[in-house]
Symmetry: C2
Subunit: 235 residues, 2 copies
DNA sequence: CAGTGGTCTAGACCACACT
DNA sequence: GTGTGGTCTAGACCACTGA
């Protein structure tokens, strides 16, 4: 269990030199040939360690100039946006689901734009509530494009959430996310059992597959009580 | 400009097969030797393409079992949390900075815990406002640990924001982020020129270096008007 | 046990960017 | 020009795991 690949040991060793302050931001570190000699391995092995650390933002590499320690900025953070049911069960809580509304409706402007359609066109609108230990955890406000996903018109969504159904039936290939804060409107507040216009955290997702826009969804969480976190410090 | 490395072309080619629906989630794709033959290259070249796509969550690989197309879940999203001034200037707006408060104060419970200190101990507390085109864009509420960063006690922070100062003087090596929504308290609301208890998006960051906790900071953005976005769809 | 992915090596050539 | 990183190859051995 203490056994790992050489390139892994080299990565850790190099990272340690950075974390310990031995190498500071801006410093140029030895070249690949030098390091290969130090670690008694092939240049390709050192190269892989350096490349991966550069991908993680630890180093900056330039031909001829060499490899330098990057200045840490608060950049790219890997955020996990897990499936609700898994997220809830992971905390040990009991997961519950309820369909609040399901109807063919005219697309409001935002949803229309996201699905690349004209406002007023019809789409399947779903409102769902996800519970953790019987307490409201998340409200899901979803639009499904009936052009791309005609099968959805026949799905009841009363037992299984649309997320799980879509993953099984209409896998997406592209997605975009946005995160923002807003004031809970009447419906969201009622569903979450919080005062109207309380702050809520909104996670918005648009997905596509090869046929076109699949779905536009907003997840609302009660403010303060829910946090998106970075699983672990990358560096 | 249409020239790229073989492993890149192979990555795109494989990705295309997934995006087009040629290979669907759960499908097992050909083995490395087969693909190496198809693409007329060494197995290592194909291996790199497959490994990177697996790292990106497109494939799942298991010895003996082979490589399969992964079921897309809404998982790990790479979020950019850029430096405020760069973020503002990137939009073409003029960046402005103002120090609102600077004092040695007793740590409130949350900040104390983040800095791994007892509540009531003293730390440097800064409140700053960042403007885009002379309009309030972000409020920064920061605590700096005077044990780890004694130099900060001598820094004025009246011209330069603490973020830039810290990056230059006390690079961190580890960081944790959390994102949540909250109601603007009196001070934040006043600074951002929004009604009290309006929703704000909060980004919280704790950083460490080899000496210990460096800083605990919360950035507040007006709700609705600010969004954290994924730069591009990974898949 | 056999097949698949995981890794390493030694050598080679190339592309870029400093000097 | 020249040194650095970027990539490819051919071959090898290993480790895991499904049949």
């Amino acid at each position: 269990m203490s056994d790992q690949a050489p390139y892994q040991r080299i990565k850790e060793s190099l990272l340690q030199r950075v974390k310990s302050g031995d190498w500071r931001p801006g410093d140029t570190i030895p070249g690949e040939l030098q390091l290969a000699d130090d670690f008694s391995c092939a240049r390709a092995t050192v190269h892989r360690a350096l490349r991966e650390l550069a991908d993680e933002g630890i180093f900056e590499r330039r031909r001829k100039a060499g490899t330098r320690v990057a200045v840490p900025t608060g950049r790219s953070v890997a955020l996990d946006i897990p499936l609700v049911d898994q997220e809830i069960r992971a905390t040990g809580a009991e997961y519950g689901y309820r369909l609040l509304a399901r109807a063919l409706e005219q697309l409001p402007p935002v949803a229309a734009e996201s699905l690349d359609r004209a406002p007023g066109e019809q789409a399947l609108h779903l409102t769902c509530l996800h519970y953790a230990d019987r307490r409201p955890f998340q409200v899901e406000d979803r639009w499904i494009d009936p052009g791309t996903v005609p099968e959805a018109l026949d799905a009841p969504f009363d037992e299984e959430g649309p997320n799980a159904w879509l993953l099984r039936n209409v896998p997406w290939t592209d997605a975009e996310h946005a995160i923002f804060a807003s004031a809970a409107d009447k419906d969201v507040a009622a569903a979450l059992s919080i005062p109207s216009s309380s702050p809520v955290l909104a996670v918005e997702r648009r997905t596509w597959n090869q046929k076109g826009p699949v779905t536009f969804v907003r997840f609302f969480y009660p403010g303060e009580s829910y946090r998106l976190r970075t699983s672990f410090a990358a560096r």
